[in-house]
Amino acid sequence: MKYLNRKLFRDILRNWTQFFSVFLMAFLSVLIFVGLQGAWHGLEVSLEEYINTYNLPDAWVQSIVFSENEIEQFENISGVDTVSSKIRVTTYMQTDESEDKYIILDTFNNTEMDFKLLEGRAPNISEEGVWINKEYANANSISVNDYINIEYGNVECSLKVLGIVQSADRIYFTGTLEYIAPNYSNYGYGYISENTLKNCMKYQGGANVLEIYGNNKELRNMAEDILGSKFVAYYDRNTLVDVSESLDRVGQIKNLSYMFSCIFILLAILAMYTTIRRLIETQTKEIAVLKALGFSNIKIGIHYAGFGAIVGLSGTGLGMAISPVLSSFVLWTQKSMFSIAEWKISYSLSSLLVVLLVIIICIVSALLAAKDAIGGLPALFLRGTVEKKGRKFILERIGNIWERFKFEHRWAIRDAAANKVRLFMGIVGVAGGMMLLIVGFGTPDSINHLVEKAYTEDFSYDKRLDVASYEDAKDKYSGQWVQISQARFSPDDGYNRLLIVISEGNYVNMRTVEGELIKDDGVYITQGFAERAHLTVGDEIVISPALYDTDFKFTIAGIITSETNQGAYIMQNVWEEAGGKFAPRTILVDESISNDIIEDDKNIVSVIEIEKQKENAYDFVDSLMSVFLMIIGFAILLVVVVLYNLGSLNFVERQRDYATLRVLGFHKNELRNITMIENVGTTLIGWILGVPLGIWFLDLYVCTFSTIRLEYTSYVSITTLFFASIVVWLASMTTTLFVSYRIKKLDMVEALKGVE
């Protein structure tokens, strides 16, 4: 075997370009699958450990106030292990900056805390001070032992920062539903003892949040029954945005990993299989020589399997070695969005299976390619004059069409038809590349479109003001009033959603699927909610809003295409006619309400500018952008490698024919035109198939981003299709240039001598 091994390595060195393309495919397949898995599985494991270590509750119930009796009733629900009550208040931090800074403070009673202390003193109920979250502290340059001025109601209180913390129920903390992504500069959370809250901030009320450990499927219903009109909200791990977003993100990256890797690996396998086969097929004469010398079929088989094994093992090996870098990169892109105690990379058995699959494909391709020559008679292959088969093409049977083609075009078409695997590889490569590129370009485009639509078309206000008293503000400002509350809908999809009652105005412009604005003829529900709850126009729906004892029955008048805040919209007069009370706390206004007016009005408790919301939403898109750039990069690489392989195979297989045509007197540019027509044909078919497949794949992929709160829909812009097409066509044209370069360098004498 010593000499066979030398031959093996020298053959690999001599044909390094073909081996390199197989190596690259094996490397990229493993890198993408294992790298992405390391990220999503790592995130999953990190979250699980964080949630378990820091004792994340299973459900949260909010009420105006909980009585001892009510807490006891919760404790007695079967399946519920522990119930812990706390007070939650939203406070303002006084700063010199013009922007409002909010800190949501929770009380704690135990010294055994359920959050992670990163810096400072261990929590102690007897100490007066505050523990605030790491991200808010960093964004506002707050350190342990600093003093911060907190305002609650009209009470101001100076508190010492006793520690910097991180909490498992605030993994994705936006502070308000009005923001899609975390806004650590303006929204923070913290912990404070009940004594401090009562002494320093003069808080008078009781507990308003229950943290429930344990499960009961009817917990939501029971909470509503126990609390009646005091019920404010119910969340579990799937609906509390602060937690659910992180769990959803695991699913999103997992989907990306499987969907993307699936297409990539399939294409890579196809490329590897065809390249290795062609490579070994050029060695049939050598196989015959080895047989003639007396080498056994097994030894020859092992020798050729070695071609596949070496390239497969080296490609997958490097892929595995580099994959932690990709995993770390993907996780790094998520760190600005999620607050987790420890970020880990983790792999599962499926990674190993993919690695083995790629190696096996390489070895089997090599063995299959060598099979005929190993099994055949040496003399047949030594003669080396086996004529390639010519076959009639189906088009030739249709009338006179065939006769109209030029001879060189007939040659190209028949050749393509005779080399179905090569043709298939080209078409699938282009179509697959197009699919990946449409997803790569289209996903950020879709999310950007969602942001643009939400904050330009659906809502057109300049600012949204939250007021303490509707009565004091209603005659003072002209704008559109919005009353937002949690409500139970029957039928629903298992989750409480938002009920948004709006007054007459021009700032809420959401349209129904038929393009109509919201009118005073019933309730309008958002598309995501309608689909999940199987609701359609004309259906009757019962609404039980928080803080109400009564239910309201409405007919669904329309399904609106709003992606944000999934729930229901209703006009003020329809709501009031049904007996509902309109006491909104939010007004949407235009730019005529200046910051000076707002600052002078103590009734305004918070202000959110639409531009800030938009900026925040774009931060969310940016957090995923690197991942999409990565997809685009890999997709380009895939298209280039597949088309390069195709061009290379095309040239190698037809070198003799090209040389013959050159001898007959064909000019180089005429031959280039022939290759171009063939390449354009393959690319055109792949492109035509790739566009609808890409749109379908984009839709499928973007939908996986949808959560209970946000509905993502795909948006295919001309820009997406244009850039994806440009990349594919450029890669195709580059391949033509590459083949024409080789035609230019073709040595007719050598090419024809090779035959003999």
């Binding site: 088969k389 001879f407 003799r656 007959l664 004498v749």
Partner: protein
Amino acid sequence: MLKFINVSKYYNVGEQKVKALDDVNFEIKKGEFTVILGPSGSGKSTLLNILGGMDRATNGKVLFDDKEIHALSDHQLSVYRRAIVGFVFQFYNLIPSLTALENIGIAAQLTNNDKQAEEFLKKVGLENRKNNFPNQMSGGEMQRVSIARALAKKPQLLLCDEPTGALDSVTGKKILEILRDAANDENTAVVMVTHNAEFAKIAHKVIKLRDGKIFSIEENNNPALVEEVEY
């Protein structure tokens, strides 16, 4: 018509310089059937390649109707091959995915003769095989198609590299007949490279090569008939 003046061709093989042709001089006239004889490695194929514009001489001049072939650009050489030269190879080099008729047509169209493709196929006696692909034909049939393809361009110079080398004696003679007819009837200068000295009998001129040099040039005013050749 065609002159080789002091033509030499060197190849670099590794660190060695190999002289494939060394100061070769000869002349070929229209309608002349020339046989180039020599053992393997004598430079026959190199000479044919330079004649056909597939390769360039290192030194010397190649003139076709006083035009300096050796000085032509790549593109001009293509034009020369397209308009002047027809090639017949030992292993035919037909395009596998084109039928017999189409193989002739693809060459004939270069000189706008594609409408006569069928006529040329008839000339080589294969009109009933026009829709067959190369893999459906025998070696002799493929070589006849190859000759028809070369003749379809109506070349002034027909170059044949061991055209009967892969054929049996009966088929080989048929091929020789067609080539002789091309010289006699079409006034085409036919140059045939072979290592079979017997074929010298039917040639007007016999150029013998040895080690890249011309060993002898013999003129034959009364060439024998093809049937007289001992194959």
